[in-house]
Point group: C2
Chain length 330, copies 2
Amino acid sequence: MTIYEIAREAGVSASSVSRVINNKPGVNKQMREKIQQLVEKYHYVPNEAARGLVTSNSKLVGILIADIRAQHHIRGAYHIANELARHNYFCMILNTGNSDEERTACIQLLRQRQAEAAVLMGSTFRTTAVQVAIEQFLPDTPIFMMNGFIALPNVYGVLSDERWGIADCVAMLGRKGKRSIAFFVDQPTPSSALKTEGFIRGMAALGREESGLWIYRDVEGSQNGGYETAKRLLAEHPEVDGLICSQDIIACGAMRAIQNSGRSIPADVAVIGVDNSSYAEICTPRLTSLDNMIFDSCVTIAHKLVDVLNGDSTNQRTMLLTNIVEREST
Amino acid sequence: MTIYEIAREAGVSASSVSRVINNKPGVNKQMREKIQQLVEKYHYVPNEAARGLVTSNSKLVGILIADIRAQHHIRGAYHIANELARHNYFCMILNTGNSDEERTACIQLLRQRQAEAAVLMGSTFRTTAVQVAIEQFLPDTPIFMMNGFIALPNVYGVLSDERWGIADCVAMLGRKGKRSIAFFVDQPTPSSALKTEGFIRGMAALGREESGLWIYRDVEGSQNGGYETAKRLLAEHPEVDGLICSQDIIACGAMRAIQNSGRSIPADVAVIGVDNSSYAEICTPRLTSLDNMIFDSCVTIAHKLVDVLNGDSTNQRTMLLTNIVEREST
DNA sequence: CTGTTAGCGCATTCAG
DNA sequence: CTGAATGCGCTAACAG
């Protein structure tokens, strides 16, 4: 079913049908109604590919997520998609995977599909390969990075101050009398580097030198990763009294190991996670967590996105402050 | 950048460029290489809309999910998207919302974008409105329903036997000496109806009449929903010794209320959830859960999808057996 | 092996 | 207010 078929049955030209479809003026009322009836009758839906070909707008925004199973990112996508849907934009959520080849392929796909904008969720996209891919394939497409930034004229970044946030977590543990504090951090990303830096700064404020810190790197981002690393920590440093983990899920596993060792939380060891995810509410004890403002970041991105698509301009970099949500584990 | 611009610079016609782009024969080797170099040089990417317009294939599969924040569904989408990506199909994940209008709008969107197939995740799509929308907008597009089915020639369903699964859960509690068993079920969907039926059958096998059963309906699908309902249950039926919840997350909340009342799990009250989600691993005690085989369902759907897109045929209905994963809560 | 032609479905001029 | 003509970028016949 095409506009021509509708036009023939209505006894008019395709142009008139097109005008009706797009709610444009210049069609007499009776004819408009007759066409509308036929559209209803045949459940006609315009072919967006053909329409996009002539108007060169796709009404399509791509959301790239390294792993859509990660709760915090998919929640962000949810909010952005809902907001954009209200502006008649349609989001395609792409699961990129974690390699530069995959990331590049997805960016190329956005070009192929004529995406009008893109959202890159997470600091994993802060790589040279991504920068090159953007320059090559999407040099003029507005790109919004959540918790990341790349210095290109068409890239906008909304970041949360995780460095200061983690330093703040250390300070909080310090106020509670904790001094022997460990830090678990997942695979290296720009975000985890900032968190680590925050930990080092926070500990410095407590008078600890960087060389003696208990930083466990490359912790697998799963409950088991936290569990196994915590067992190591307890063996190597039984006097530990505080623990900060770069992800809630890691903290959940770590808490289990700590409890299994006969220690109580927070009396013996206080624990803090990051993301303020639903995991923090489900584990026992409930986990104190650094809220890195994913929700607010996404709301901000959605607004900026709509602004930019409307031709307005916004500042390229925005920084959001983090916020510790205190629960039972501290 | 279009094939014409490439063609001009290469001193050939657009057809030859098209042949090279699509790896088709009929271009001499030197010319092929020259064109490939230009493609590289300008980072040319074909416009998929134009291509789709002439070939009338979009290489696009839609995945509809009522709420992408639901872990079990997004995990399913993850597997399907990955599998299809290997066959050069691209998935757009759509967050439909929970109303019939929204579901219909999304199905219309699939038509508009010429989706070659669709996956509907969850029994919430088993409504008359969806059936009508499919008949009107996608009468010839293969539709795969995960945990659902609609009797139309182009619809394929992969279901898991939740009815028998829940009955099985009841039997398991029975074997452990539990007799006063309650059931929490979320908002009515075809799936929750089946679960409820399974509970009734299971209790019948234990010699309980339907009229006296403790079935709590319309429980909010959140931790808080489980918590509040469990408080009511404990007040109304303090002698309860077993609880089955239609979702893991509900069970997590319920367990908290049970523990707060001074009861121990599973000694005083045994608890079982459904979905075998990561929540079941995180809560304390770890939750025994009915695995409704979402992973296997999605693998099955992905295979069937590829088969159907390749022109092969498969059976329209498949039933997968569920499986209780026993942990500490029973 | 190569180029010319036509047309996919639609929106947008421009005449009438 | 209306229709005819044009072209978006590409592929697929066809003819050379």
